[in-house]
Point group: C2
Chain length 381, copies 2
Amino acid sequence: MDSAPPPTDHQHIVFTDGLALECGVTLQRLVVAYRTYGRLNAERSNAVLVCHALTGDQYAAETNPVTGKPGWWDTVVGPGRPIDTDRLFVICANVLGGCMGSTGPRSPRDDDAGTPWGTDFPPVTIRDMVRAQKRLVDHLGIRRLFAVIGGSMGGMQALDWAAAYPEAVFAAVPIATAAHHSAQNIAFHEVGRQAIFADPDWQDGRYWETDKVPARGLAVARMAAHITYLSEQALTRKFGRRLRAGPTGGLSLFGDIFEVESYLQYQGSTFVRRFDANSYLTITRAMDFFDLAAEYGGDLSKAFAGTRTRFCLVSFSSDWLFPTTESRAVARALNRAAANVSFVEINSDKGHDAFLLDEPDFHRTLAGFLAGCAEHAGLPS
Amino acid sequence: MDSAPPPTDHQHIVFTDGLALECGVTLQRLVVAYRTYGRLNAERSNAVLVCHALTGDQYAAETNPVTGKPGWWDTVVGPGRPIDTDRLFVICANVLGGCMGSTGPRSPRDDDAGTPWGTDFPPVTIRDMVRAQKRLVDHLGIRRLFAVIGGSMGGMQALDWAAAYPEAVFAAVPIATAAHHSAQNIAFHEVGRQAIFADPDWQDGRYWETDKVPARGLAVARMAAHITYLSEQALTRKFGRRLRAGPTGGLSLFGDIFEVESYLQYQGSTFVRRFDANSYLTITRAMDFFDLAAEYGGDLSKAFAGTRTRFCLVSFSSDWLFPTTESRAVARALNRAAANVSFVEINSDKGHDAFLLDEPDFHRTLAGFLAGCAEHAGLPS
């Protein structure tokens, strides 16, 4: 796989009145690609914004047109699911900087239609992503979201939505996330970026000029990241030390001898078919930049001063990328702000990825919280 | 840095009677490079074998001739140190498969003097490394080692020595180690190998034919591995989210913006000046293969049946690469074998690397255990 993914026509809205980014640059033309599920009620009071993670996209609850696989949150979003599309209207947008239709490094430059931004794409932040989503929400005529829900980077967005637009967020569910990216998380991202930079096919980010993409570098980046999404227990349960070739064929320098190796290589090779390397650089940077307290004088509680948003924080016991301690720190800040907050640590051995997997306790927690909020918000059941 | 490290003349012994490896290949010519510290007593009863880790070498307690830096265990080995060279004779050998003088991928082939083994070097195991060390110990006229001591991969060797040559090991100190490499550890190694394979300068391992080495791939491998050697707390304490450029210069896609990034890049770039990529592949594989229980029908206690060796197992509380649970499993197996074993978890926030750092509790533990053993062994004080 050495060529770019095929172009796909994604549902989108174009905003031509510009988006001023935190870095000082103004994007003249903003495209937000999105999908919706369920039906917006007459009062426009049942809208839920679902925010995707680093490598996610807007296809939360339907077949992904690029991969042909089920939506990444098919088990959570849908009729009768925890985010029940029989009563809720779900919006999911590709993030700013992404590669699934929203403005990002693969989009044409403002000043020179035809050539992509590439690595000249301005460094965007989680707040910039949230502002782009706000445009979409405004465009849809929704003044207040019933809920903003997301895991990992999606959880950063949920926190940032509640801080930036408290009146527009009735409830927020930040899952498996943190109010800042830790030194260890930055370090893992940096390894991935260096792997991409080290790939000669990256060509200083101008790979669109050839028919190659930095597939090997991006695959290594994905492999390193993927380990951090799983727990040691999950890896051991899934693969242990099982050999692919059987014990007799085991002793060799090359080849994927252990099952865990072929699994990782598969994860790396399928990823490059669907993801743009420059988007990966852009979005990992946005996560690294995220430090919500720093924007409020170092006191996270000030980000939520006077908030009326109802929060449900969820962490997973075996998540070492965004460990429970991070959610607990957010809960403490929300408590200091006298916010309405519940905090649940789900017992799971599936690591960070647990928020994407079949975790009945998590799904019950989410459904229960949303049911309670729906009652308080006066949503018709 | 694109050229190979300069050749250094290392103290060594050549064995021409061959070494039969576990993979079935016999090395015709075995070179073991080593260094010693202190003086062997007349009874030859005070010898301590120190086993180095993945990227270590024989220069444990003196200036390293390649890097010009202090020995990797200068704080532990020396006069008045925990491994006290005023009374003990310390041997440290470069492992089989290494790149500091012992036979490895950079050595000339048996059948065709002049060209290096490269990736045709046979896959070696921890047991093979131990057998090569045993040759050296025999050559020095030492029938029983007072102690075999090592951390990480060095700890695997200490365990394997005690299993393979119980009569030749009075005491064993396996530190920050495990009786097998876990799925997560294999996964991290595989990321590093794939980063090397992805570097076009690797040239299928025949990089000695050009004046290039796979510096970028090896640096990425080192960066990924280095994160696993530290704890999250240590990274946070050392770097937190501190910016190199100051907050105003922060928002950029490129460059080492956070201090943790420049630190990792430095770790990667200095590593390639001293280490051979094919050795890295060979030694990471040897660690992955290690599964001591598997060699004894799946029951680790059988590896130590009837042992009279005194064991001191040491783990560090924040080590997530070789967590305390792994040492505890070894302790349980030794208990089932009715072995003489003490097990100490050192409270430290420095992660896996703690065994290389200034950790007074660890040093006191090691010194105390060796003093007790010296008394039992009847070593003159």
